[in-house]
């Protein structure tokens, strides 16, 4: 099971305003809603050797992962973005391996926080 940086979660909960919908739940939901398309875009990019798609998608996914403390996923995205920018396709290819699993691990690790918040 992937680790979640508890500081990131606390940073989000600290932004919660009283009487408003739960922010953390909303962000985890958004993450779950938007990320599969980004993972797909990265994987398609690897399949089609489309470095630009890889760079854009990994940049966005990196940001979301970072906010939720999904450190492992964030690192992977960071690397992908860097390799893509450097036109290092092999780097992208090897880093993209296990991306889906990593993402799923993050989702699993976030589930208890979501449940608690909701």
């Amino acid at each position: 099971m992937t680790d979640i940086d508890i500081n990131a979660i606390e940073a989000i909960t600290s932004l919660q305003r009283p009487g408003k919908p739960n922010l953390l739940a909303k962000i985890i939901a958004l993450f779950e809603q938007n990320s599969p398309a980004l993972i797909e875009a990265i994987e398609a990019g690897v399949a089609n050797q489309d470095l630009e798609s890889i760079q854009t998608a990994s940049h966005t996914l990196k940001s979301s992962a970072a906010y939720l403390g999904a450190t492992e996923l964030e690192d992977k995205c960071k690397k992908l973005e860097k390799f893509a920018r450097e036109n290092n396709f092999e780097g992208c290819q090897s880093t993209a391996e296990g991306l889906s699993e990593c993402y799923q691990g993050s989702i699993d690790a976030l589930q208890p926080y979501f449940d608690k918040a909701a």
Binding site: A11, Q16, Y67
Partner: protein
């Protein structure tokens, strides 16, 4: 933490990010901090929202699909509303390229991801505050520019260490450097100062730097094609560093053209008469007081002419006031003309421009003649004024005649303050009116008569010179031992139609005072040389012709040139010409005297000293003067026989002269006893009634013929 207020009650923040979770997280803190938040998820949407909502600030993610943040802010910056809006760029932590690029495209500031959303509102608030400060500064600059433009006042700054010189837009325009492309230097400013004021401006500035003080100077700009000449006032002060060294100069330049013109106009209104453009009473009073101060210091004279136009009232009554004004204007012009273009004497004194014509009001005028030499000068100008004023006028096609009556008071004779002089000139004018109009009158009866007499004599002398009413007589000189003729002295005579024979003692000083001595002396010299040449031509023997030279003649004319003229006109051998000079002329400036004599001698002319012994005869100087002859004054010869003292003097002069190799001539020899004694003392020559009275050429020729016959008879 309290947040500083901003212009909009709830400033609008446009937050642009493709990561919706970022938007969500930021939204709460921004709204809590009092901002209204608008979202956009890419650069294109951002531009749409920007145009729609006109936000106060933009938070822009750098990397986004569709259009990234860089391109988006580039477009926003190009719009009028977006030019100064704060834009906060969000970039990756490790992405230095993005940070650099963000600034290049016009971002105001940046934040790195992950963003601390608690900090974000503070950063936004800070940016809005600096924006408002910048706005304030911009509008303050605008206000300053406007104020400078309205006040026509600009400022400048000079860095004395680097020479860097900056001018505000208004200063640049005033000084006429608007179109200068190169870096402006202080020298450019100086170059635009009117050349006649440049020295003053430069020295005022360098003095300010030297004294570490300030300066204030007014100047005109240099005339050029693009800019009118302005009157500017420059104030500047120096700025010192901690060590007390001048580092900068700060200055202002203000356009004071209007003020200067207004001052000029005020001055004109205060000191000049509108109808005639002449100085008015106030001006005259100041000028008069100035003249009083100068003349009392220099002990010089000046005259005040008070005049009005006779029958001016009739012109005004019959032709109307406008015609009257026209007449006054024309009369004023003639008055100025009369004063400007007057006689040669005042021109020589170089003071002709110092005269003032003023209008007191109505038809009353005052002419102030500064530094006149003699009363007759005032009379002459008064006469000229009368003549010019009484010439007919053409006013609105009607011929009009007026005359003027003039009263003259003189400083210091008739008063030593302005009021008295004016009063006396006024009284003199009324006396003149009593005498019949169209004339002039001095305040003092005595001066009036004297001036008139001298004035008319002077005029007549002038006419006499022009008409040849003067003639020359020749008085022979003889060698005492042999009795032979040695020479003649030419003496001028004036046969006046009414006065009879006028004594040279009367008219020579007058000629000297009036400058008539110059034409008179010229006429005498040429006439005498011509006569002498005629006698030589007729073989009348070997003798010389002596001519008296006045001191004034020497001062006022080029004697060498005159002698050259006389010699070339007459054809006379210069060795036959003898000039008689008084010792006072030569002793006035001994070095100059020697030079004059050397010049004359180099032309071959003989020189004798006239009236020797009457002045401050200096024996030591006599030794140094290159003269040929001494003439013993007749006053010593007169009592020679009876006065032991005169005998001693005459004997001494003769002995001394011989020691100095000078020929001695005794003047005024009237008796045989005198002649015998002089012969005994070895005096060389004699002149006087014993020998002959001054003779006309014909008489002289007769005298010479008789004498030669006589000598011949005696000898045989």
């Amino acid at each position: 933490m309290p947040l500083a207020p901003v212009t909009r009650e709830r400033p609008i923040v446009l937050h642009v990010d493709d990561d919706v979770s970022s938007l969500l997280m930021a939204e709460g803190t921004l709204e809590d901090a009092g901002f209204e938040v608008i979202h956009a998820e890419n650069g294109l949407e951002a531009i749409e929202q920007f145009e729609k909502t006109s936000p106060d600030l933009v938070i822009m993610d750098a990397v986004m699909p569709e259009m990234d943040g860089f391109e988006s802010i580039q477009i926003i910056r190009q719009s009028a509303r977006g030019r100064h809006i704060p834009i906060l760029m969000i970039t990756g932590l490790d992405d230095l390229d993005s940070i650099t690029r963000a600034y290049e495209e016009g971002a105001t500031d940046f934040l790195t991801k992950p963003v601390n959303f608690h900090i974000l509102p503070h950063r936004v608030r800070y940016l809005l505050r600096s924006k408002s400060t910048a706005d304030e500064l911009r509008s303050s600059q605008e206000r300053l520019d406007n104020a400078q433009r309205i006040a026509r006042l600009g400022n400048w700054e000079l860095d004395l260490r680097t020479g860097m010189f900056t001018l505000s837009a208004v200063a640049r325009r005033l000084i006429g450097l608007e179109h200068l492309d190169v870096d402006t230097k202080f020298e450019h400013l100086i170059g635009r100062v009117n050349s006649s004021d440049r020295y003053e401006v430069e020295s005022a500035n360098s003095q300010a730097v030297e004294s570490k003080g300030s300066c204030s100077v007014e100047f005109r700009t240099a005339p050029d094609v693009d800019n009118e000449v302005l009157n500017l006032r420059m104030e500047s002060e120096t700025v010192l560093d901690e060590d007390g060294q001048c580092t900068h100069m700060l200055g202002t330049i203000q356009d004071i053209t209007e003020r200067t013109n207004a001052q000029k106009q005020i001055h004109n209104l205060a000191y000049y008469d509108i109808v005639t453009g002449l100085p008015n009473r106030a001006f005259l009073n100041e000028k008069l007081n100035y003249n009083l101060a100068v003349s009392s210091r220099d002990r010089s004279k000046f005259a005040l002419l008070f005049l009005d136009l006779d029958h001016f009232k009739q012109v005004n009554d019959t032709l109307g006031h406008d015609a009257g004004d026209l007449l006054l204007g024309e009369a004023s012009a003639r008055l100025q003309d009369a004063v400007r273009d007057h006689d040669s004497i005042a021109m020589m004194s170089k003071e002709s421009s110092a005269h003032t014509v003023a209008r007191l009001g109505g038809d009353e005028f005052v002419v102030l003649l500064s530094e006149i030499r003699r009363e007759e000068d005032a009379a002459r100008i008064a006469k000229r004024i009368s003549e010019l004023i009484s010439k007919p006028y053409k006013i609105n096609d009607v011929e009009v005649s007026v005359t003027t009556t003039i009263g003259i008071s003189l400083y210091p004779n008739d008063g030593d303050d302005a009021e008295t002089l004016m009063k006396h000139a006024d009284i003199a004018m009324y006396h003149a009116k009593e005498q019949g109009r169209n004339g002039y009158q001095f305040y003092s009866r005595e001066i009036h008569d004297q001036a008139i007499a001298r004035f008319s004599l002077e005029k007549e002398l002038k006419t006499a010179i022009e008409n040849g009413d003067l003639h020359l007589l020749y008085q022979p000189k003889i060698h005492l031992q042999s009795g032979r003729l040695t020479g003649v002295e030419a003496l001028v005579r004036w046969q006046h139609a009414e006065l009879g024979l006028v004594s040279p003692a009367d008219f020579i000083p007058l000629a000297e005072e009036t400058g008539l001595i110059v034409p008179l002396g010229r006429w005498v010299l040429i006439e005498a040389c011509k006569q002498m040449q005629e006698w030589i031509r007729r073989g009348m023997g070997e003798f010389s012709i002596a001519i008296n030279c006045s001191t004034v003649q020497f001062v006022r004319s080029d004697m060498q040139e005159l002698i050259r003229d006389a010699i070339s006109i007459s054809g006379l051998d210069p060795g036959m010409l003898e000039l008689e000079l008084t010792e006072s002329l030569l002793l006035k400036d001994i070095e100059e005297g020697i030079e004059i004599l050397n010049n004359l001698k180099s032309m071959g002319v003989q020189v004798s000293i006239d009236d020797f012994g009457t002045g401050f005869s200096s024996l030591s100087y006599l030794k140094r003067l290159p003269v040929d002859k001494l003439k013993i004054d007749q006053s010593f010869v007169k009592d020679l026989v009876h006065d032991k003292g005169d005998e001693a003097i005459v004997s001494a002069i003769i002995t001394l002269s011989h020691k100095l190799d000078l020929t001695v001539v005794a003047e005024g020899v009237e008796t045989l006893e005198q002649a015998d004694m002089l012969r005994e003392f070895n005096c060389n020559e004699a002149q006087g009634y014993l020998v002959s009275y001054p003779l006309s050429p014909a008489e002289f020729e007769q005298w010479l013929a008789n004498r030669e016959l006589d000598i011949h008879r005696k000898a045989s």
